[in-house]
Symmetry: C2
Subunit: 218 residues, 2 copies
Amino acid sequence: MERLDLPPDVVIRRLPLYARSLRYLQDEGIQFISSHGLGTRINVTAAQIRKDLSYFGEFGKQGIGYNVNKLLAHIEHILGLSKEWLMVLAGVGHLGQAIVRYEGFGSRGVRLVGIFDNDPAKVGQVIEDLPILPDEDLARVIHELGVKIAVVAVPASHAQSIVDTMVAAGIRAILNYAPVVLRVPDGICVRYIDPITALHSMTYYLAQEEDKRRSQTP
Amino acid sequence: MERLDLPPDVVIRRLPLYARSLRYLQDEGIQFISSHGLGTRINVTAAQIRKDLSYFGEFGKQGIGYNVNKLLAHIEHILGLSKEWLMVLAGVGHLGQAIVRYEGFGSRGVRLVGIFDNDPAKVGQVIEDLPILPDEDLARVIHELGVKIAVVAVPASHAQSIVDTMVAAGIRAILNYAPVVLRVPDGICVRYIDPITALHSMTYYLAQEEDKRRSQTP
DNA sequence: CGGACTTTGTGATACAATTCACAACATCTA
DNA sequence: TAGATGTTGTGAATTGTATCACAAAGTCCG
Ligand SMILES: NC(=O)c1ccc[n+]([C@@H]2O[C@H](COP(=O)([O-])OP(=O)(O)OC[C@H]3O[C@@H](n4cnc5c(N)ncnc54)[C@H](O)[C@@H]3O)[C@@H](O)[C@H]2O)c1
Ligand SMILES: NC(=O)c1ccc[n+]([C@@H]2O[C@H](COP(=O)([O-])OP(=O)(O)OC[C@H]3O[C@@H](n4cnc5c(N)ncnc54)[C@H](O)[C@@H]3O)[C@@H](O)[C@H]2O)c1
């Protein structure tokens, strides 16, 4: 196949979904899956899955579909999950502690190696074997360990400044829980986790339904 | 303006971002903002903001921009945030408790009115004035109070079945934290909060950088 | 072996979203 | 009043994404 143009970001964002579904298939002991079979599990059309994968190579067999183990290995490799990326967390409050304890993060491809807070009362406490360090150590740890990923769980008002520090120290990817849009240099990847925004986009549809209902029963 | 076609979902998803930014502007005491000014704050082009808003009406003034208070009120009204929507939560574990305590949820447009768990040891405990109820009461509460929004924070293996119960009882919008794609009837709105998937899409770009770096310094 | 099924990978096509570009209007200054 | 500046709202153009549809290749089975 000719792989001229690089895969668009929408495709990259779907790959982890494919990977997760393949892991469930693995757990179920299923060895082969067609694009159609995979698609029905995750509400994506078969054609889209095939086209997405075609950006990276040819992984299927006509008449059969995809070997679950092999396709998963391929996708994890494409996603860089065959290595282990180091990660730091800033802000060990309510949310931060929940993140540290969520085993999901540690499981695949990433490892939390440092947690930071600027509250002197918190510094020194240990959570899941990780001591809370002061902000002063943040840049040094990032730099010395070559950490590339950071999670931001500080109050919105402090998010931008801590991100500036992180980026200056070598962070290249940021998972941001604070409800602010971050300003970062080109090439730094940022993803937002924002349940409130998600909720507020759903209430739109609820309001629409309500309106329609009201206009039908006057 | 002619408002022939309904606004696409991408637009609806951006509105809460505009609203949040306008709230910050309000806090700063700023009374007028141009599409350009708003755009630079949230990394969106001015033209996109104007086009998005044009789906709903004309809110700006040439030469001036938008009145912050008025535009915010308009957007919140469009999003259905002038009413208060009731919400239930299923799964009061680590994550669920963090959600109950996160004041962000209560603040605007939505109110948590019931929390549910199937662990008998948890039922009866009270968190932030809300008693944990057993799953048996879920359908009744949804139905009797007319609850339309649900948050899912149960283990992945239990998510689909509890969602089926919720939808049968009248839930129309679901915020899902469990790492599974849900199957719901047409018309039910689902949003996924999925930090692991977000992380795994970022490692792709890290791996790309690494590859490039390696090929440059052989 | 041959014909009925399946399924992939991918150009071509259709659809969707974003950006461009500009007329129309508003304000300010002198 | 007039000219300079700034901003909106929106058709048209552009860019981006998803779907279609089918040749090619594999399986299955009598
Ligand atoms: N996206 C989500 O799902 C979600 C959920 C809950 C909270 N939040 C957001 O996450 C952030 C944290 O929420 P929380 O409930 O944990 O608040 P919290 O007050 O419990 O915790 C914040 C922590 O950050 C620390 N901190 C403050 N400034 C800091 C700095 N400059 N450097 C390092 N640490 C600093 C504080 O000491 C505290 O421990 C807030 O922005 C909140 O809006 C997001
Ligand atoms: N998206 C995220 O940000 C995020 C973060 C952490 C966890 N998670 C996911 O959220 C879910 C919960 O995670 P957690 O860390 O809180 O786990 P947990 O084990 O601490 O809590 C799960 C809770 O759900 C309850 N439960 C189980 N089955 C139930 C049912 N059928 N009805 C009602 N309650 C039920 C359990 O009793 C328990 O209290 C998991 O699916 C996890 O993968 C998501």
